[in-house]
């Protein structure tokens, strides 16, 4: 994918660094600047940027820049949900359930089901494409960091995310059908320039948890929060899309998630996070923290999208 346009001093520095220029590392000008700079750094671990040497993934200069950004990113998470707190490992499945039940985020799925216009739903799909075209990838990084029962549970979920090895059934591929129905650009990362800090933060948090082995508890909690809050909203997205005239191809991604995530949520809470907390009790609190962060960061995003629509604006950036 093409490198995005900078949004301030530090995202410009990240782009310069990847273009082989010597840079001084400035402080971020804004949250837009911070989130984009971090996104640029992280992408080197996924599919990379057009024209950028893959060797930059492990370049000490890039890693130093990234580490500075991560310190600010983590401070932002602590401001949002507080730091991780120790919990009793055996309580993890129940506490996860209580956490998702207590979540009263903005009612984006309800809006999409009943009220969103074709243009608003199309924007929603463009935002989500940044993640869905690499859906499951950041959580896959946890696999080699686990053993035994939690590892088997994670693989059971991920196998389904990747369509059981059948290309057309991979969730990443299914999402293209929805994008195609809306006439959106199917290429990976096509909308990075169009989405704001809130969307980039949703993606950055998964890379932040997924790329660091020491944050393996948090990435599992993040996955559990996603799986446990997915089946009902996806049903709402599918009905909203059918209301707008979407055919079976258009809704396939959402219909699939209703059934798939009803399976995954049980596995994630009990077999994955429950058994992980039992195996690594000192990280039980991180599992809950990861789940709380996932919900909070997604709620910020949903709130930003709904606020734009309430003002009669587009939720995408002019670019």
């Amino acid at each position: 994918m093409k490198l995005p346009a900078p949004r301030g001093a530090v995202s410009a520095a990240a782009i310069d660094l990847l273009s082989g220029r010597d840079v001084a590392v400035p402080a971020p000008d804004s949250d837009e600047d911070l989130q984009l700079a971090l996104f640029i750094c992280y992408e080197m671990a996924y599919r990379g940027w057009d024209g950028v040497d893959d060797a930059y993934e492990w370049d000490p200069g890039l890693l130093r820049l990234r580490a500075g950004l991560e310190t600010r990113f983590e401070a932002g998470l602590h401001e949002l949900v507080g730091p991780p707190a120790p919990v009793e490992p055996a309580d993890v499945p129940r506490l996860l359930l209580e956490t998702v039940e207590a979540d009263d985020g903005p009612a984006l799925s309800k809006y999409l089901r009943g009220r969103a216009t074709h243009g608003q739903f199309r924007e929603f799909v463009a935002h989500r494409s940044v993640y869905h075209l690499r859906e499951a990838d950041p959580h896959t990084w946890a696999i080699p960091r686990l053993s035994g029962r939690p590892k088997a549970a994670l693989i059971e979920i991920q196998l389904d995310e990747y369509g059981g090895g059948v290309t057309d059934r991979m969730h990443q591929e299914l999402f293209k059908k929805t994008m195609r129905w809306f006439g959106l650009d199917l290429s990976y990362g096509a909308y990075v320039d169009s989405v704001g800090a809130a969307t980039l933060r949703v993606n950055n948090i998964m890379s932040f948890f997924g790329l660091h082995r020491r944050r393996r508890g948090a990435i599992l909690g993040h996955l559990a929060a996603y799986e446990m809050t997915s089946s009902l909203p996806n049903r709402a997205y599918a009905s909203g899309l059918r209301r707008l005239g979407g055919d079976a191809d258009a809704t396939a991604f959402y219909d699939e998630h209703v059934e798939a995530d009803s399976v995954h949520e049980q596995i994630a809470a009990h077999d994955l996070c429950g058994s992980f907390a039992a195996a690594e009790p000192e990280l039980a609190g991180d599992v809950l923290w990861g789940a709380r962060c996932a919900l909070a960061v997604d709620n910020l995003w949903a709130g930003a999208v709904l606020a734009a629509w309430a003002d009669g604006r587009s939720s995408l950036r002019d670019c």
Binding site: E101, E156, L232, Q266, I267
Partner: protein
């Protein structure tokens, strides 16, 4: 053919392993995935599969037998 059926607390029955889902007349029900969740609360809109509605319905059920085995 070996398979396991696991009741999850307040949730569906999860079926794993080598199984076939068939209707009363023997017709195959396409599971769509290797591990499936069957509705246990009766409220799913995609029966026989679970769609997560048990949470809205505040469905309660344990993970084992409610009563001792009859024999």
């Amino acid at each position: 053919m070996t398979s396991t059926i696991t009741p999850y607390e307040d949730g569906p029955l999860i079926i794993r392993g080598d199984f076939e889902l068939r209707g009363p007349d023997g017709e195959l029900i396409e599971p769509g995935r290797a591990t499936v969740a069957l509705c246990r609360c009766g409220r799913s809109a995609v029966k026989p599969f679970c769609d997560g509605t048990h949470k809205v319905a505040k469905f309660k059920a344990g993970t084992g037998r409610d009563t001792p085995a009859p024999r």
